[in-house]
């Protein structure tokens, strides 16, 4: 369990602990379901969620992240492994707490509001009758929907329905809240706003939360911890800056944001790459390696004697992404302020700037990759 984020306020027991969970779907059943699950959906998954914090599980579709959530909630039975919720074992070889007794809330990708009930009926669904009168208005106030009690689900906008789903899941005061791609069904223009609103609600409720997403902005902005899942395994877990800054492998680097992965040679504290020699952390072993340089750490300078040629300019308004084909044959991307003008075909000189050095992935002689080495300070 070396990959737990350093989040403050560790209780005696983590909010959620998942250990060695594996889940295999029979191919026949998978075909019938028409779902995008892999045959092996979870392959020895381990991670912990500190109490009261938000963990975002990030991965491409089919990586097993939704299955992980369903196992934690009890909607799916794993083949092996353990799950603890606030120290209570809910899944284990000898333990099985059915989902309705786990007190783990779930916000579904399709929201799954009860179509036959109004907003108040939905939010009060999991509450005892006597608690509804008090708790429903409280929850609606929390999500900013006071006065919407009598609305029907189909009369709500996407963002409102989203907040009702969160309020419904939080109303019975669950020990943990699980959100499965909760913003995927929203318009892109709405998504950031609703995300911020929900993040605020979660923060004020202080509930241990796991969020599944394939949207890296969502994962990096909402999680105290980010768990990267690839092909049914936890590839890396850590604080968002940590995971972004120091991806454990080149694959993770490529998955998480734009990445320039350059072949280089480490020798006496420097790595020689197509963008010039870069300083590396002391102790980095000599030899062939892959160097990760993020596009925002690359600078371009227009120069007829440059070492590359601009092949593409993607303009985003606030910034731009410039692709450059180096004379060496490698190609790199740079993210620059939108003010600066580049045109396709312009010759440029490429420099690796920025405060932090590259992340080095040594290429072992047998062709095996070693672990990442931290960038120089």
């Amino acid at each position: 369990m070396a990959e737990i984020a350093e989040v403050a306020d560790l209780g005696a027991e983590p909010g959620i602990r998942v250990k060695g969970v594996s889940k295999r779907f029979e191919p026949e059943r998978r075909a019938r379901d028409g779902s995008d699950l892999d045959v092996v959906a979870m392959d020895g998954v381990d991670f912990e969620v500190p109490r009261g914090s938000v963990t975002a599980i990030l991965g491409p579709s089919g990586c097993g992240k939704t299955t992980t959530l369903r196992v934690i909630s009890g909607l799916e039975v794993p083949d092996e492994g353990h799950v603890w919720v606030e120290g209570e074992e809910v899944v284990g070889p000898e333990e099985w707490v059915p989902p309705e007794d786990r007190r783990v809330g779930f916000v579904f990708q399709q929201l799954a509001l009860f179509p036959h009930l109004d907003v108040a009926g939905n939010v009060g669904f999991g509450l005892k009758r006597r608690d509804r009168k008090e708790r429903v208005p409280e929850m609606l106030a929390l999500v900013g929907l006071s006065g919407y009690e009598k609305r029907r689900p189909h009369e709500l906008s996407g963002g409102q329905a989203q907040r009702v789903a969160v309020a419904r899941a939080l109303a019975p005061q669950p020990r943990a809240l699980l959100l499965d791609e909760p913003f995927a069904s929203l318009d892109v223009s709405l998504r950031a706003d609703v995300r911020n609103e929900v993040a605020e609600v979660l923060a004020s409720a202080g509930t241990t939360t796991v969020l599944v997403t394939h949207d890296q902005d969502e994962a990096l902005s909402m999680g105290n911890q980010v768990v990267i899942m690839l092909a049914g395994r936890v590839a890396q877990a850590g604080a968002p800056e940590e995971v972004y800054r120091r991806p454990a492998t080149p694959e993770i680097a490529a998955f998480l944001g734009d990445a320039n992965l350059l072949i280089g040679e480490v020798k006496s504290g420097m790595v020689r790459t197509a963008v010039g020699p870069l300083k590396v952390e002391t102790g980095t072993p000599n030899g062939a390696a892959i160097a990760l340089v993020r596009p925002e750490d690359i600078d371009l300078e227009i120069s007829t004697r440059g070492d590359g040629r601009v092949t593409e300019v993607e303009y985003f308004g606030h910034d731009q992404r410039i692709s450059v084909l180096l004379d060496s044959g490698e190609s790199v991307k740079a993210r620059l302020h939108a003010r600066r003008k580049f045109e396709v075909g312009t010759r440029v000189r490429v420099r690796a700037g920025g405060g932090l050095g590259p992340v080095i992935y040594p290429l072992a002689p047998e062709g095996r990759e070693g672990g990442a080495t931290a960038p120089g300070k």
């Binding site: 007190r103 990708q109 399709q110 799954a112 036959h116």
Partner: protein, 516 residues
């Protein structure tokens, strides 16, 4: 802005609607001619008919809900074996006209029956049993569709909110299909109050049977008209209630790739299979087997089956005429309804749909009144029979034609015009290919249901004109089951064919599938 063609369409549609609603209007006029109408309606005899009808409708709907909902749940939510086969089999009783089912059961299990005698078959329980078997497929099909289209995550949501199985069914699962169950129960009730064949054969006195007896026995036919009006009030009430129960189509996102989880039955598998298979066997298998056994007896007795081809040809001819007329007449109404929805359009559409609320017997009765008064030359002609079919089954033609006409978006015809197509070319190359499927389907449905029609044919046919339904009816009601057999088997085949287009059209088209 109403252009000239639009105004023409509206006028023609209004004429059609008027013609379709004419029997209803005339029924009202005729009923008011009754001496002391209030006294008649509240007479002990009519009140008894009303009570019997209500009792039968309530019993049948309740039983149909129990069987239909149970079968639907087993088929949609459990791992019962041979689901596909069972699902088809369970819908088959719809293909058995109620009079054939009733005759088959009486010949086998009635007093002096071939197999053994079930006491109490004649009367309320027999009628309730036959009609339940004929109508539970409505509940099954409509509920099954609702169950399968409900969002699986909703069930998961109820689980994660802490609800255990029983309360989950009551608070999350059943409420999602309640509208479908109610609507389909009301459909069975509508079927029961309109039924003539089964209640007559099983001699249970509902309103339809009362009307028939009144018409046959008395000179003052305004009493029959008055009772018919009472009956129409029931059908109208049921139709309105059914519309309301269906409610607006819930338009919630249903994007989940997951399917509903199925309950593993384990050692309950056999029982669950029996729950689905038994009513199907009773409702479709037994009548078919009995009809086949009639045939065997008939072969031995070698009675006059030579008239069968004649009856078949008559049935086919009348039904074909009705199908063509219904499709042609429904076109202006469907065109209008597909384009706009003003109150006048809704009124016209409602008029054209009058047949939906008019049991076959009532249509026939009002056509008799109308013809004897206004058009004596039409009385006792096949034209009147065809007219009854058209009025009665116009709703089926409309239900098929309207969506296909509505699917021709004006942007499509506009696109054709901007690509240089003339008005005529556009109609032939864009509109016609898109609507012909729906029109053919509607025509086929009218044809197949007309083939089975009994009560209107019985009342309106000119002397000597036999259809297949009449052959079954007269043959069997006089005890010559062997004579009835080939016609009955032919009708069962035709009815089974009628299920095919409805299979594709979905639950909304099922309602008039089985007219008896």
């Amino acid at each position: 802005m109403s252009s000239r063609p639009a105004r023409l369409t509206t006028s023609v549609a209004a004429l059609v609607a008027g013609a379709m609603a004419m029997p209803l209007v005339y029924l009202v006029i005729r009923a008011t001619e009754a001496k002391d109408p209030a006294g008649l309606v509240f007479s002990e005899r009519v009140l008894e008919l009303v009570w019997n009808t209500l009792r039968l409708a309530a019993t049948v709907s309740a039983a149909a809900v129990i069987i239909g909902l149970g079968s639907a749940w087993v088929l949609e939510r459990t791992d019962v074996p041979a689901r596909r086969f069972l699902g088809v089999a369970a819908a088959l009783p719809l293909a058995v006209p109620s009079y054939i089912a009733a005759l088959a059961l009486v010949s086998a299990f009635g007093p002096g029956g071939d197999l053994f005698v079930i006491p109490g078959l004649i009367g309320f329980w027999g009628a309730a049993g036959v009609l339940t078997l004929s109508t539970y497929p409505y509940v099954l099909l409509v509920t099954r569709a609702a169950l399968s289209s409900s969002e699986p995550a909703v069930d998961d949501a109820a689980i994660t909110l802490g609800l255990h199985r029983i309360r989950r069914f009551g608070r999350a699962q059943f409420p999602q299909v309640r509208g479908a169950v109610t609507a389909s129960a009301l459909l069975s009730a509508l079927y029961v109050v309109s039924d003539f064949g089964a209640v007559t054969i099983l001699r249970y006195g509902t309103l339809t049977r009362g009307i028939f007896l009144e018409y046959r026995s008395s000179f003052d036919r305004s009493a029959a008209a008055m009772i018919s009006l009472v009956l129409v009030l029931f059908t109208l009430g049921l139709i309105v209630a059914e519309r309301r129960a269906r409610g607006p189509a819930a338009s919630l996102r249903h994007s989940s790739a997951r399917r509903h989880r199925r309950v593993a039955l384990g050692r309950w598998r056999l029982l669950a299979t029996a729950v689905v298979a038994a009513p199907a066997l009773l409702g479709a298998g037994i009548p078919l087997m009995i009809a086949v056994s009639w045939l065997q007896k008939g072969a031995r007795a070698s009675s006059g089956n030579d008239v069968l081809p004649m009856a078949a040809a008559t049935s086919a001819g009348l039904s074909m005429a009705a199908a063509v007329a219904a499709v042609v007449l429904c076109l202006p109404v469907a065109m209008l309804a597909a384009r706009r929805s003003t109150w006048i359009v809704r009124l016209i559409e409602g008029g054209a749909l009058a047949g939906y609320a008019l049991p076959g017997l009532v249509v026939a009765l009002s056509l008799v009144f109308l013809a004897t008064r206004a058009a004596p030359f039409a009385y006792q002609t096949v034209g009147l029979v065809v007219a009854a079919y058209v009025i009665r089954f116009m709703p089926e033609a409309l239900a098929s034609a309207r969506p296909s006409l509505a699917s021709v978006d004006t942007s499509l015809t506009d696109a054709s015009r901007t690509l240089g197509g003339s008005r005529w070319e556009t109609a032939m190359r864009v509109t016609w290919p898109m609507v012909r499927g729906g029109l053919f389907a509607g025509g086929a449905l009218v044809f197949l249901t007309s083939m089975k029609e009994l009560p209107a044919t019985l009342l309106l046919r000119p002397a000597g004109v036999d259809t297949l339904a009449i052959r079954v009816w007269t043959g069997a009601s006089e005890g010559f089951y062997a004579q009835a057999a080939p016609a009955a088997l032919l009708l069962l085949g035709v009815s089974a064919l009628a299920l095919l287009p409805m299979w594709r059209a979905g639950a909304s088209a099922w309602r008039t599938a089985n007219d008896g």
